[in-house]
């Protein structure tokens, strides 16, 4: 009897070991995928790294026919479109987060929050579709001429209004990253202790003053985290940008000029890259994207955790 019992217990223990081993294998698998991803990008860009060195990031020449590759124009396009996106999305997103966390009644806040999550769920290619059909003509006919008229001679708004270009891509990106800023920003603002607000209100400050002078400073690191998270999304966003940026590998002074981004050049040329050096150059562009998003997302997570305490990041 006891023997049978102890055998049963032993069998269960063995089951525990197996379960542990299987779960461990999958956990280690996640680690392995991340490591393998870095290794594959590194290994498959070796030709480009050897031939062009650091000049790859400085040179503007991208000539598949001549076999000359420099990614400066793409890096510029990616950084500029992301910067434009943040200039628009940060005030907008933090404003919405303030409304949802500080002002709106709970039901309204929950409903609006859900609608914004649906906004975040819309696939990139659909934003691109809307961008091509609605935003590009609107930019060409109204917005860009209006900006020109408002600031004649301003170099950023120079050149012909094509509709496509840096500014249009930046606006689309802004719309796409606002939900991320709102969802993290709201969480961060809600984690500010109630007493902070009550103390400010008790001292006679208005609602806005308590928000602006007490809640926002308290939540500042987390809000920066939300911004960095949005930046990480914007840098790697591919389809919508590819469809409206104009795909011209040049650095122009004007925001109206067609440009190119890192993700867009990979999307456009990868399946047609027949020369090995071309493929390796494109993969090196991917490697640059990998390193950039890795750093920016790590900073974002650290900043958010500093405010809300360790919680699973999105």
């Amino acid at each position: 009897m006891t023997r049978a019992l102890s055998m049963a217990v032993a069998r269960l223990r063995r089951g525990d070991l197996i379960a542990h081993a299987v779960a461990f294998a999958c956990g280690a698998g996640v680690l392995a995928i991340a490591g393998l991803l870095a290794w594959e990008l590194w290994r498959n860009s070796v030709l480009a790294r050897r031939q062009f060195g650091l000049g790859f990031l400085v040179s503007q020449t991208w000539d598949p026919v001549a076999g000359q590759f420099g990614a400066a124009a793409f890096v510029y396009g990616t950084i500029m479109t992301s910067a434009i996106a943040l200039v628009i999305a940060v005030p907008l997103g933090i404003g919405v987060a303030i409304f949802l966390a500080e002002l709106a009644p709970r039901r309204l806040s929950a409903t609006a929050g859900m609608l914004l999550e649906l906004l975040a769920a819309i696939p990139s290619v659909i934003y691109g579709l809307i961008g091509v059909a609605v935003l590009v003509p609107a930019m060409r006919q109204w917005i860009q001429p209006a900006l020109k008229a408002a600031m004649p001679g301003f170099p950023l708004f120079g050149g012909p209004a094509y509709g496509i270009g840096l500014l249009t891509a930046g606006v689309i990106l802004a719309i796409m990253v606002v939900p991320f800023i709102v969802s993290v920003g709201r969480e961060v603002l809600l984690s500010v202790p109630r007493e902070q607000r009550e103390a400010a209100l008790a001292l006679g400050s208005t609602r806005w003053e308590s928000t602006w002078k007490v809640v926002l400073p308290y939540a500042r690191p987390g809000l920066y985290g939300a911004v960095f998270l949005a930046l990480g999304r914007a840098l790697g966003e591919t389809m919508a940008v590819t469809m409206v940026i104009g795909n011209r590998p040049e650095i122009a002074a004007s925001l109206f000029a067609p440009a190119y981004s890192m993700a867009a050049v990979i999307a456009n040329e990868f399946s047609e890259a027949t020369e090995e050096i071309h493929l390796h150059s494109l993969i090196e562009v991917g490697l640059v994207l990998f390193v950039l998003t890795m750093i920016i997302n790590a900073v974002a997570r650290a900043l958010i955790a500093a405010t809300t305490g360790p919680s699973p990041a999105r």
Binding site: V22, I33, F290, T293
Partner: protein
Amino acid sequence: MTFLPRKRRRQILNVVMLGMTAAFTLLTVSVLFFVLGYLVVKGGTSLNLAFFTELPRPAGETGGGMANALLGSAKMLAVAAITGLPVGLLAGLYLSEFAGRTMAASVRYAADLLNGMPSIVIGIFVYTLVVLPMKQFSTLAGGLALGVMMIPIMTRSTEEFLRAVPLSLREASLALGASRTLTIIRVVLPAASRGIVTAAMLGLARVAGETAPLLFTALSNAFWSPGILHPTASLPVMIYNYAVSPYDDWHRQAWAAGLVLLTLVLVANLGARRLLGGHRQA
């Protein structure tokens, strides 16, 4: 303004700024309704039965549909679910039930890293790992790319939901003599099942709309794609290809496809949230 008493000025500023945050919210939410409305109008008028049953016609000919793209997307999602869901689920289980501190931190870091990676980089990864050795764009490669994207999503949300299961439940089961494995299977997982199913649905909805990683793993195909070892059309890639083409009839079909894709994604999202609604333990 400067002649107004200080208190009045502060009150005006209060109303103006708070009003502005409300206006921003309205503006942002209205984007959702604009996108929805625009797609319903443009896509609704272009959608017909042929869209679901016929193959694409060559450029210049009107009519035809995207039946092959619908099937292609479904097959790739199936591959993604078969590969990504179990690995992600078990990795999440490992994080919440087994992992020591160091290992948990590294796995979490890796999952967050993968989660934040641009999808196009995942596409490159699967290209070098699957497409190059097999010398063939395929449903399998596209599905694996989507599967790799699902893994970190599943890992992190499974962990979150398992952690929300109270420790006392586990202790009760262990005290009754159940092994850890039995406790996990019979007590912990059922308690978190709603959350996990929600996470799986949200993950599938998210990768269903992904275009970038499919461009050079599944490529596209104007015809049916037999099995899983041939290039295949998919809904998102068709939308992209048709939207940037110069043909009016293709634009029309891109809108129809956009409406179908958006409907699927949003219905899955709403369904998943509904399933979770009110039962969120955290």
